[in-house]
C-alpha cells in the first residue's frame, strides 16, 4: 500500500511538473473550447435561413382552411399559381427558382368529409436550404392535421413518387461539399506530419544536420531543399489519398441515395489539384518549423499533434455545407481555413475566382515567409543545438 502511494506520487510529480506534458494533456481541451466559442457562433449564423427571404410556393387546389399557412408570421410567402403546370413547377423546384409545390387532390374537402383519405403532395428540393426549411414547415402542419380521425388525409404517401426534386448531381454536391474538404485536409496533414516531424528534428537528434551546417551551402538553400523534398513526398501520398477518396466517395455514400461525380469536369479537378499542392506545402512549412524548433522527434510529434487538432477543427467548417461557405475575401487570408473553404466552394461548383486567387497568393506568401523563417532558424545555434 505504501509502495503504491510512493509510486503514485512519483508518477504524478512526473506528469505535473513537465510543462510539455501538461501542454499536450490540457491544451487540446482549451483549444477546442476556444475554437467552438469562436466558430460556434459563426457556424450557426451560416446555417440560419435569412428571415427576410421571400419564398415562392406553388399551390394547387388549396382549401380555404389552409390559406392561413401562406400568411404565416414566420415565412414571407408569395404564391405562384394558375398558369404553371405541375411539371413546369417541378422543373422550377429542381432549378431552385421555386421552393415548394403543394398539390391537394381534386375535390379535397368533399373527399375528406366522406372519409376517402385524399392525397396531398408536397414537392421540394433538399439541396436548397430554403426549400427544405419551408417544406418541413408545411409537412409538419399538414401531416399533423391529416392524422386526425375526423379529418383524415395522406401527405406524401404515394408509392413510388419522389417528392424530393433535388437532382442526383445536387444531392452529390451537397454531400461531397460537406465531407470531401474535411477528409482531404486531414489526409494531407497526417501525410505531411509523419514525414516532417522525423525529418529535421530527427537529423538534429542524430547529429547529421551539423555535417550539413559546416558546408558553405546557404541556409536558405538548405531550408528550401528540405521543404521541397518533404512536400513532394507528402504530395505523392496526398495524390494517392485523393484518388482513393474520389474513387470511393460514390460507394461510401451509396446508402444516402445514388451519388455521382459526373458533374465535375477537368477544370474542377485542376482547381482541386492546385489547392492540394499549395496546402501540402503550407502544411510542410508549418510542420518543418515545428520540427526545427523541437529537441527530438518525440517532441516534434507531440507539438504536431496539437496543430492537428486545430486543422481538424478548421476542416470541420466544411460541414456547414454549400450555404456555409465563406464569401468575404479576407477570410481567405487565413491559412488552412482558406484551403478548406475554397475546396468546399470548388466541390459545390460555386468557386469565386477572387477567393481562389486570394487563397493561392496568400499561401504562397506564407510559404516564402515560412522558408525565410526556417533559414533564420538554421542560423541560430540555440535552435540547431538545443538539448
Amino acid at each position: 500500500m505504501k509502495n503504491i502511494l510512493t509510486i503514485l506520487k512519483k508518477e504524478l510529480r512526473r506528469f505535473f511538473t513537465d510543462y510539455r506534458m501538461l501542454l499536450t494533456l490540457f491544451l487540446p481541451g482549451i483549444i477546442i473550447y476556444l475554437m467552438y466559442t469562436f466558430m460556434g457562433d459563426f457556424i450557426s449564423r451560416s446555417m440560419e435561413v435569412d428571415p427576410t427571404y421571400q419564398y415562392a410556393v406553388y399551390v394547387y387546389n388549396l382549401p380555404d382552411k389552409y390559406s392561413v399557412l401562406l400568411e404565416s408570421q414566420e415565412f414571407k410567402i408569395s404564391t405562384v399559381e394558375t398558369d404553371l403546370t405541375l411539371d413546369e413547377a417541378k422543373n422550377k423546384i429542381e432549378n431552385k427558382e421555386l421552393q415548394l409545390a403543394v398539390i391537394f387532390e381534386d375535390d379535397f374537402e368533399n373527399k375528406v368529409t366522406q372519409g376517402l383519405t385524399p392525397d396531398v403532395e408536397i414537392y421540394y428540393n433538399s439541396s436548397s436550404t430554403e426549400s427544405l426549411y419551408i417544406y418541413r414547415f408545411f409537412y409538419s402542419v399538414l401531416s399533423a392535421d391529416g392524422s386526425e380521425i375526423t379529418y383524415d388525409f395522406k401527405v406524401n404517401m404515394e408509392e413510388g413518387v419522389n417528392y424530393d426534386l433535388a437532382t442526383k448531381e445536387d444531392t452529390s454536391i451537397t454531400m461531397i461539399t460537406m465531407i470531401a474538404p474535411y477528409l482531404l485536409v486531414m489526409f494531407l496533414f497526417s501525410g505531411c506530419m509523419a514525414l516532417s516531424s522525423e525529418s529535421i528534428a530527427g537529423e538534429k537528434e542524430r547529429g547529421t544536420i551539423a555535417s550539413l551546417l559546416v558546408t558553405p551551402v546557404d541556409r536558405k538553400e538548405i531550408a528550401t531543399g528540405k521543404v521541397l523534398a518533404l512536400s513532394i513526398t507528402s504530395l505523392a501520398s496526398a495524390v494517392v489519398s485523393f484518388v482513393g477518396l474520389i474513387a470511393s466517395l460514390p460507394k461510401l455514400m451509396g446508402a444516402q441515395g445514388d451519388l455521382t461525380i459526373n458533374m465535375y469536369k477537368f477544370d474542377t479537378y485542376l482547381e482541386i489539384f492546385v489547392i492540394i499542392v499549395i496546402t501540402v506545402i503550407v502544411f510542410t512549412v508549418i510542420l518543418s518549423i515545428i520540427s526545427t524548433l523541437s529537441k527530438s522527434v518525440k517532441e516534434a510529434a507531440q507539438y504536431s499533434s496539437l496543430v492537428m487538432i486545430l486543422v481538424v477543427l478548421l476542416g470541420l467548417t466544411s460541414m456547414t455545407g454549400v450555404d456555409g461557405i465563406a464569401t468575404d475575401f479576407y477570410l481567405y487570408l487565413i491559412p488552412v481555413y482558406n484551403s478548406v473553404q475554397i475546396l468546399s466552394s470548388i466541390f459545390a461548383l460555386e468557386m469565386s475566382v477572387t477567393n481562389f486567387v486570394v487563397t493561392v497568393v496568400s499561401n504562397l506568401i506564407y510559404i516564402v515567409l515560412g522558408i525565410f523563417a526556417l533559414s533564420k532558424m538554421f542560423q541560430s545555434e540555440k535552435i540547431m543545438f538545443n538539448k
Partner: protein, 257 residues
C-alpha cells in the same frame, strides 16, 4: 612564418537550461566554456590543443568552424573573420568532430559525392580525390555498405574522408583518434603527418600526451576555458617531458584558485 589561424580573446558563455544545471550539478545559470582565449597557428604546422575533459577544446573548435558564435572576441583564418564571414570560412576549412554524424541510410560512396557536390567540386576532381582517399584508408572494401552497418572505426574513417572532400588547406580535428584501435589510430596519425607534408595547417584537440609529442609543432594547454600556455613543443619540453609540464601547470593553477 605565415599565420593561418589567429584566435583573439575568444569567449563563449553557455546559458544553462534547468536540465543542464541538473546534469552538471550546478546552480549557476551560465557556464563560461571558453574564457578570453588567444593563440595562433602557422602554415604547415600542427597545433595541438591539450586539456582535460570539459576544458573547452571542442567549444573553441566549434567556434572556429562557425557552428556556434563567440560571445566576445573573434577568430581569423587567413585573415577572414569567423564572426563576419562564416560562409567564406566554411569553404576554407575541413572540420572533424564526433558531433558531426553521417546519415546511417547512405553509403560512403554516396555521401562523398553528396558533400563534394555541396562544395561545388567538379566530377573529375571528385572521382580522383575519392579514389585516392578511399584506397588510402581502405574504404574501398565497404564503400557500398550503408553507414549504419559500419563499425565505429570505419565510420570515423569515412567521417575523416568526408571532412576533406574539398581538399581544404586548414584542417580542424577534434580528438581524431578517439575510439579507434591502435592500428586505425596509426593510419590516422600517419595521414595527419602526410597532410602536414603537403603544406596544410592542422589544429587538433586531444588529452593524449603521446599524440601531441608525436605530431605537434606547437601546443596550447587549456584549463577551465583559459589558455595557460601556448608555445612550440620544443620550448615547452626543453626541461622535462610534456606530461610533467602539464601536471606542474595543473597544480599551479589549482593553487591559484
Amino acid at each position: 612564418m605565415e599565420e593561418v589561424l589567429k584566435v583573439s580573446n575568444l569567449t563563449k558563455i553557455f546559458r544553462l537550461s534547468n536540465r543542464q544545471k541538473k546534469i552538471n550539478k550546478t546552480k549557476e545559470n551560465v557556464k563560461v566554456a571558453v574564457d578570453d582565449l588567444s593563440f595562433s597557428a602557422y602554415k604547415g604546422e600542427i597545433y595541438g590543443l591539450l586539456g582535460p575533459n570539459g576544458a573547452g577544446k571542442t567549444t573553441t573548435l566549434r567556434i572556429i568552424s562557425t557552428l556556434i558564435k563567440a560571445d566576445k572576441g573573434d577568430a581569423f583564418v587567413n585573415g577572414v573573420s569567423v564572426r563576419n564571414n562564416p560562409k567564406e570560412i566554411r569553404k576554407m576549412i575541413g572540420f572533424l568532430t564526433s558531433e558531426l554524424k553521417l546519415e546511417d541510410f547512405f553509403t560512403p560512396e554516396y555521401l562523398f559525392d553528396y558533400f563534394s557536390n555541396l562544395h561545388g567540386i567538379a566530377p573529375d576532381v571528385r572521382e580522383e580525390r575519392k579514389h585516392k582517399l578511399f584506397s588510402k584508408f581502405g574504404v574501398d572494401t565497404f564503400k557500398e555498405v550503408k553507414v549504419g552497418n559500419l563499425s565505429t572505426g570505419m565510420k570515423q574513417k569515412v567521417s575523416l574522408i568526408i571532412s576533406l572532400v574539398h581538399d581544404p588547406d586548414f584542417i580542424i580535428f577534434d580528438e581524431p583518434t578517439n575510439g579507434l584501435d591502435v592500428i586505425t589510430a596509426k593510419t590516422v596519425t600517419d595521414f595527419l603527418l602526410d597532410l602536414k607534408a603537403q603544406g596544410k595547417t592542422i589544429i587538433l584537440s586531444t588529452h593524449i600526451f603521446s599524440l601531441v609529442e608525436k605530431l605537434c609543432d606547437r601546443v596550447g594547454i587549456i584549463f577551465d576555458g583559459k589558455m595557460i600556455v601556448s608555445d612550440t613543443l620544443a620550448n615547452l619540453t626543453a626541461q622535462s617531458d610534456l606530461e610533467s609540464v602539464f601536471f606542474n601547470l595543473y597544480e599551479r593553477e589549482g593553487q591559484r584558485q
